[in-house]
């Protein structure tokens, strides 16, 4: 997770650096500012270039914000969620695959207590991994900031924003983890759980979102789990406010937890 966070952060700084050099060259050549270029819709080619430069300018502005060094990190919220799904599914599913679940239940027959302990341990591991990822992002951001003319003074006051981002990313990832655990218990193994989870997240939901959007209202797709949790990790979006997306994510977390608890409590352990 640290490596991915570092790479994600590095990519944004490289993009910002490229955009900055391009903007400087355009100004030297008297072609106006980056934003002016974006406003000129003289033709398809100039318009596309303009929009790209506008987005790059927007990126530079965001990198200068207090939590700018975490821009790359928050954008990888969906990936972090999938990692959490895999880790949780593997950990829970292997107890079925190895048969060790029966050994554990004979020692600790309170199934919900055993499950709760396992989820707590995995959530703690996830928190630690996210911390490491954020530290990696910070290091890369500090090292990369020199190559881009981005004011970094605001970063010094980023602690509250960083804490909020940590909580958002962690909450979204834990929800994915509980979903992964539910799939692992339902399928009594890790491989099918991971397969179903990733196929849904990567392929199923985009297809479903397109279909649902065409059949009903377009914005309904935002309420699907993968989109909603990614939006939560980003702290909300223009399409869905933070409070709304938090409520949606809590709904998914509660539903997955209740389903998981019911399955664990009632099912026969035949492994």
């Amino acid at each position: 997770m640290a490596v991915f966070a570092a790479l994600s952060t590095l990519s944004r700084f490289r993009l910002a650096a490229f955009a900055s050099r391009l903007a400087s060259r355009r100004q030297l050549l008297g072609q106006g500012s980056v934003v002016d270029g974006a406003g000129q819709a003289a033709g398809g080619g100039a318009g596309v270039r303009g929009r790209g430069l506008a987005q790059a300018a927007d990126l530079i502005d965001r990198l200068a914000e207090p939590a700018g060094w975490l821009t790359g990190f928050t954008a990888s919220g969906r990936f972090i969620g999938f990692v959490a799904l895999v880790v949780f599914a593997m950990s829970v599913g292997q107890e079925y695959r190895l048969g060790t679940l029966r050994s554990l239940l004979v020692v600790e027959p309170r199934r919900l207590q055993l499950l709760g302990g396992k989820l707590l341990a995995l959530a703690s591991l996830l928190a630690a991994a996210i911390c490491v990822g954020m530290i990696a992002a910070l290091l890369v951001a500090v090292l990369s900031a020199g190559s881009v003319p981005i004011p970094t003074r605001a970063w010094a006051s980023s602690a509250p924003d960083a804490a909020a981002i940590f909580v958002n990313v962690w909450a979204a990832a834990v929800t994915w983890g509980v979903i992964g655990s539910l799939l692992a218990v339902a399928f009594r193994g890790n491989a099918p759980a991971i397969g179903v989870g990733l196929v849904y997240g990567l392929l199923g939901e985009p297809i479903l979102a397109t279909v649902v959007g065409q059949i009903t209202v377009e914005g309904v797709a935002l309420w699907l789990p993968s989109r909603a949790l990614a939006t939560l990790a980003s702290g909300g979006s223009a399409d869905m406010g933070f409070t709304t997306v938090l409520a949606v994510a809590v709904g998914y977390a509660v539903a997955a937890t209740v389903g998981l608890a019911a399955l664990v409590r009632r099912s026969d352990v035949t492994v």
Binding site: L98, G99, T100, R102, S103, L104, V106, V107, D268, T270
Partner: protein, 321 residues
């Protein structure tokens, strides 16, 4: 051949002296298959009791219900005086090995035992002692994934003893053990019973069970076939074998056996009479009255395996010893 009667009687062990008490225990799976069917059994405390049945007869399912892993469809059961609906009340006093050893292959033998100790809140100081007692000849600091089946089985048995349990439920504990290991296991089980512990074990090695068990429970298709002391089972399946001084007299011996109401047949130069213990003296007396001299009169006991096959083929009329 054991008599086939469905005798009703008082249980050999009143429930409060039973380590395990099953009353009408039944398990029907979602596909409608009855794995355990109205099973009522008493397993006495401080004994080694064998649990015998063909593959798919419901032995493992019964173990799993006793361990709280599988929910029964109907019926009740008690383990060490506690209902199986409250496994936490008795499982701390129960050790078990069910089917293949369930261990973490990427952890060492010692680490596997430590995981269970931490979960159960047990003292880890017993780990070394149990590993030595189990005579695991693999390096317990290497990963369990490299162990042989026999060593994994020994480690699983060591894990079952971590909490110094009062009751051991062992499903095929000799699986994978070599003859020396089997002998050690036999000795180990007898020592446990001598310490007052109860062992309820299943095995397909009926010859081994015959040497170690005090009592047996025999099931087939989830239903009880026999329950009682092993001696009673072996005696009930025994037959008298008589050899007359003159082979011409064998017909007379057969006639004496039939007149006494027993099944008698001549086979391979001997007369086989399905008579209960105690008929020897009467047979001898009647032969003397008939001027028949017997040169051999012995009671032939079938082994447990033969008896089991016979009872199973008899389609399971319940017997209690």
């Amino acid at each position: 051949m054991p008599t086939a009667t469905a005798a009703k009687h008082e249980p050999a062990n009143p429930p409060n002296l039973s380590a395990i008490s099953l009353r009408g225990l039944t398990k029907v799976w979602s596909d409608g298959r009855r794995a355990v069917d109205e099973l009522s059994v008493e397993v006495p405390r401080g004994k080694v009791v064998g649990f015998i049945g063909p593959n798919g007869s419901g032995k493992t399912t019964t173990f799993r219900m006793l361990l709280g892993l599988v929910h029964p469809t109907s019926g009740t059961a008690e383990v060490l005086g506690e209902s199986i609906s409250r496994p936490r009340a008795y499982l701390p006093r129960v050790g078990s090995v069910v089917e293949t050893p369930a261990l973490y292959p990427n952890l060492t033998g010692t680490q596997n035992l430590k995981v269970l100790c931490r979960l159960g809140g047990w003292n880890q100081s017993r780990i070394r002692e149990l590993i030595d007692a189990a005579e695991i000849d693999a390096d317990t600091t290497t990963k369990v994934g490299t162990y042989s089946l026999g060593n994994r089985q020994r480690l699983a048995i060591a894990a079952a003893l971590l909490a110094d349990p009062e009751l051991l439920l062992l499903d095929e504990p000799g699986n994978g053990l070599d003859p020396i290991g089997t002998r050690d296991l036999r000795r180990f089980l007898r020592n446990l019973a001598a310490e007052g512990k109860t062992v309820f074990l299943s095995s397909h090695q009926l010859g081994e069970l015959e040497q170690v068990c005090d009592a047996v429970v025999m099931i087939q298709r989830g239903r009880l076939l026999f329950e009682g002391p092993l001696e009673a089972l072996l005696e009930s399946g025994s037959r008298l074998v008589a050899v007359a001084e003159r082979s011409d007299d064998h017909d007379a011996v057969v006639r004496i056996g039939l007149e006494a109401g027993h099944r008698a047949v001549e086979h391979s130069g001997r007369v086989w009479i399905d008579a209960p213990p105690g008929f020897e003296a009467e047979l001898n007396r009647r032969c003397m009255e008939a001027d028949v001299t017997l040169v051999e009169l012995v009671r032939h006991r079938k082994d447990l395996e033969s008896l089991f096959v016979e009872i199973a083929d008899n389609h399971g009329k319940v017997q209690r010893g």
